[in-house]
């Protein structure tokens, strides 16, 4: 390890360590024995398995825990999406006048023999296994949810509700905010841990509890929540509408717990970033990903309690007989209020999902273009502007819910204003790459994919911000395409890029680059094949519901496209197994990484690999901004933040 460090760090070691030499005598042995000091980390000793890997207080371990938690939930949420895509590709075709129907066409089961599907007599081992697990006398799983080969509406609704809920609350936020936030914030601002390590652990374990409660909802009678991830009232209030009993209660309780987890986490992030930056790390020397996480923590802090209040009222409605959102006569309830409260949280939540992705892209692009980020301050102000505008646009989700036309115009205008800071960011990323010496490493490919997919998602957003257009395309696949271009094409590509980029610092090894490249290209192609045609479906007014995509004549032409989307979606899902395999394999068998493999300026790469408890042998001092690449007159094309000025003459300014 030490040799690797020296090799990649020749000039760094010469200058940085020499300059710090005056401190060396006192520093050298400090981490091991300093019995009478006040620094808890300095007399750290080896911890047992449980304290180290499970109830860890170390921000790096908590970050990794959040990462693995999010990746596991990613496969659960993705699996649910596969299930309803399966149904959408093979809808029943009704008989219409002058058009031969096809009746209830059973879903094709890959691997089961035709005889078994027709007669119910098992022929092959796959048939027998299927029968035993899903269709035996006791389980009758297929009988209940897919009778006669067509999914029931209740089951379908549950699938897409839980797909969205899990992806938003249990995948993207835990990975982007929980994993990257915990891992990066203390390392990048140059401190030893979070401000409140115990609260940090509490935040993770509350998130686990929320996930357990959420998953347990699948096993209660009546099935899981099926009122959409937005839980619109009165659909969500009265079990009579959906037939869902405790499933929806558990859904609401789980999100309340997740709210506590976010609250604790965001208090921790904000305090840490405000209070614990290394000397010289001014706010405008913070890496942009830290800025993004800071803004996101503020959004989470202020937005989630509004959802919590709405969820509490919903739980009262369902369990205590109140009438806040119900339409019970004489109760005085107001179903529309739920939508206002939900989207007042929901729209900032959308920026919670994308801002950290923007931050990660802003880290990767300068590093692999070997150029300073274009317009650092405008990047920060753009993020602040996006975060602020996010609070006053929630009504654009409700154009169809009944709204005074003047309010519609207000929400339309403010929504379109968001295009301005978003465009500032996009052009700054392009400006950073322009005439840079771009290195097409896999993280950079992901970052470029992020920018390009975000542009597509952003442009379709401008369409639907338009009230008259949205009235037509509301609740169609156009909206589905938009959210997936932003959250999958944006956030998830940033997540993949970030994982590959920081993996050497997290686990001390590289991920296998060949597998990463295969994963990237297959994901990129399958992603676009899955979601791009949805724009066309949406403009063709294909609504997002089970009943029945082929019921009306104007949708007949879309059957082939639906099958194509489903095939692509399954490819997309299967391809993620490559990432999962690569991730686990590389933790143990990957090529050992040196300290700073990508030649990055920011502080996390100053820490040794693997990062020890307490992160830094000595708290670094920061001398410059994070993106000083290819500085004229410098020997190397990078200038780490912690490297002192070598010529004392330049200290004059």
């Amino acid at each position: 390890m030490q040799e690797n460090d020296n090799r990649s760090h020749e000039h760094d070691n010469d200058e940085n360590h020499d300059a710090a030499h005056e401190d060396h005598d006192t520093v050298e042995h400090a981490p091991e024995h300093n019995g009478d000091d006040h620094d808890a980390h300095a007399h750290h000793h080896e911890e047992g398995f449980i304290r180290k890997y499970i109830f860890s207080l170390d921000h790096k371990m908590i970050g990794k825990q959040f990462l693995i938690y999010g990746l596991i939930m990613l496969f659960l949420g993705g699996g649910l999406a596969m299930l309803f895509r399966w149904q959408l590709a093979y809808p029943e075709i009704p008989e219409l006048e002058g058009q031969a129907g096809r009746g209830a066409k059973p879903l094709p089961f890959l691997g089961l023999s035709d005889e078994y599907q027709e007669t119910g007599e098992p022929k092959t081992w796959a048939d027998r296994y299927w029968e035993k697990v899903f269709d035996s006398e006791e389980t009758e799983w297929t009988e209940e949810f897919i009778p006669a080969g067509v999914m029931t509406g209740a089951f379908y609704n549950m699938l897409f509700t839980m797909h969205a809920t899990i992806m938003v609350f249990f995948v993207v936020v835990p990975i982007l905010v929980g994993a990257f936030g915990n891992f990066l914030i203390p390392l990048m601002i140059g401190t030893r841990d979070m401000a409140f390590p115990v609260l940090n652990m509490l935040s993770f374990w509350l998130a686990v509890l929320a996930a357990v409660v959420m998953v347990s909802g699948f096993f209660v009678p009546g099935g899981h929540a099926s009122a959409g991830w937005t839980g619109y009232a009165p659909l969500s209030v009265d079990p009579g509408w959906t037939g869902v009993g405790w499933g929806l209660n558990l859904w609401a309780i789980s999100l309340l717990i997740q709210g506590f987890s976010s609250l604790v986490g965001s208090i921790n992030y904000i305090t840490t970033i405000i209070n614990m930056r290394a000397p010289g790390m001014t706010f405008f020397r913070l890496p942009l990903v830290i800025w993004a996480l800071f803004i996101v923590a503020i959004l989470l802090l202020l937005a989630f309690p509004v959802l919590s209040s709405a969820l509490a009222l919903l739980i009262f409605d369902r369990l205590a007989g109140t009438t806040f959102f119900s339409t019970t006569a004489g109760g005085g309830g107001d179903p529309l209020l739920w939508q206002h409260l939900f989207w007042f949280f929901g729209h900032p939540e959308v920026y919670i999902l994308i801002l950290p992705g923007m931050g990660i892209a802003s880290e990767l692009i300068p590093v692999f273009s070997r150029k300073p980020i274009f317009g650092y301050r405008s990047m920060v102000y753009a993020m602040i502007a996006i975060a602020f505008l996010g609070w006053i646009v929630w009504g654009h989700h409700m154009f169809q819910s009944g709204m005074q036309p003047g309010m519609g115009a207000f929400f339309m205008t403010t929504t379109m204003l968001i295009a301005v800071p978003s465009a500032i960011k996009t052009f700054n990323w392009l400006g950073t790459m322009y005439r840079g010496s771009i290195r097409f490493t896999t993280p950079m490919l992901h970052a470029i994919a992020f920018v390009s997919m975000f542009v597509i998602g952003g442009l379709s957003g401008i369409y639907m911000a338009n009230t008259p257009v949205d009235v037509a395309i509301h609740d169609t696949y156009f909206i589905v395409a938009h959210i997936h271009y932003v959250v999958f094409g944006g956030s998830l590509f940033a997540i993949f890029g970030g994982i590959i980029f920081w993996f050497p610092k997290m686990y001390g090894r590289y991920m296998n680059d060949t597998l990463c490249k295969i994963h990237f290209w297959l994901t990129f192609i399958a992603f676009n094949c899955t979601f791009f045609p949805m724009h066309i479906l949406g403009v063709g007014l294909h609504r997002r519901r089970i009943d029945n995509p082929m019921a009306t004549e104007h949708l007949f032409g879309f059957e082939g496209m639906n099958i194509f989307i489903t095939m692509s979606a399954f490819t997309l899902g299967v391809v993620q197994l490559i990432l999962a395999f690569n991730f686990v394999w590389s933790i143990y068998k990957g090529k050992v990484a040196e300290k700073n493999p990508w030649h990055v300026n920011t502080l996390e790469w100053e820490a040794p690999t693997p990062v020890p408890h307490g992160n830094f042998a000595q708290i670094p001092t920061v001398y410059r901004g994070p993106y000083e690449y290819s500085v004229p007159g410098e020997e190397s094309d990078w200038l780490p933040q912690a490297q002192p000025e070598h010529a004392p003459a330049s200290a004059g300014d």
């Binding site: 400090a30 609250l263 209070n275 802090l301 309690p305 959802l307 209040s309 005085g332 409260l341």
Partner: protein, 197 residues
């Protein structure tokens, strides 16, 4: 090195704990903003309040007004005890004031509870339309916060009786004061909205 890190920590304008509590209050404000927003929507949706279906209900304005006074006094005593610790007055003064604060908080909760029992007896329950539901949820949410603050204060009183606070080292009592005063300051807003709007 250790000395350098202590200097870095001392240069902070706020301690981590104090900053954390202030940030927490931001979230609390948004929680109550959600509930108060819901209350205002229902209030504006009805020409009369209470709605005609519950026109006979009279909320106990006077008793609650006196109760409001108790809570405000507790905020003042809390602040005074913090000041006394800060300027190093004898421990007896601050201890008495802290215990007085906690007692006033408890008295507030007990009076509130007895009011609830009477109102339920008169037929105002959670199920009495949005009028009863908003009343119990808003007031109850605040009461839960007062209850939490009393528990927090009990711990602080225990620490104070054990002589843990000095003029340089009293973060626990400072953070508790911030939270207590927030909960006290919130009450008059709720009192005005729920009892007089």
């Amino acid at each position: 090195m250790v000395q350098r890190e202590m200097e870095i920590a001392e240069n902070r304008p706020f301690s981590n704990a104090k900053l954390g509590v202030i940030i927490l209050l931001g979230a609390e404000t948004m929680l109550f903003a959600g509930l108060i927003g819901a209350f205002l929507v229902y209030r504006m949706g009805n020409a009369t309040w209470p709605p005609l279906s519950h026109a006979d209900i009279q909320l106990p304005r006077l008793v609650t007004g006196i109760n409001t006074g108790y809570l405000i006094i507790s905020g003042i005593t809390m602040y005074l005890s913090l000041r006394m610790i800060q300027i190093d007055l004898p421990k007896l003064f601050s201890n008495v004031l802290l215990i007085l604060t906690g007692t006033l908080g408890l008295v507030f909760l007990i009076i509130q509870g007895s009011e609830w029992v009477q109102l339920i007896g008169k037929g105002l329950t959670l199920q009495s339309g949005v009028y009863g539901a908003t009343f119990y949820v808003l007031i109850g949410c605040h009461a839960v916060h007062v209850f939490g603050a009393v528990i927090w204060l009990t711990i602080v009183i225990g620490m104070s009786l054990a002589g843990r606070f000095t003029s340089d080292n009293h973060t626990a009592v400072e953070t508790c004061t911030i939270y207590w005063i927030y909960v006290v300051a919130l009450w008059p807003i709720l009192y005005f909205l729920v009892y007089f709007a």
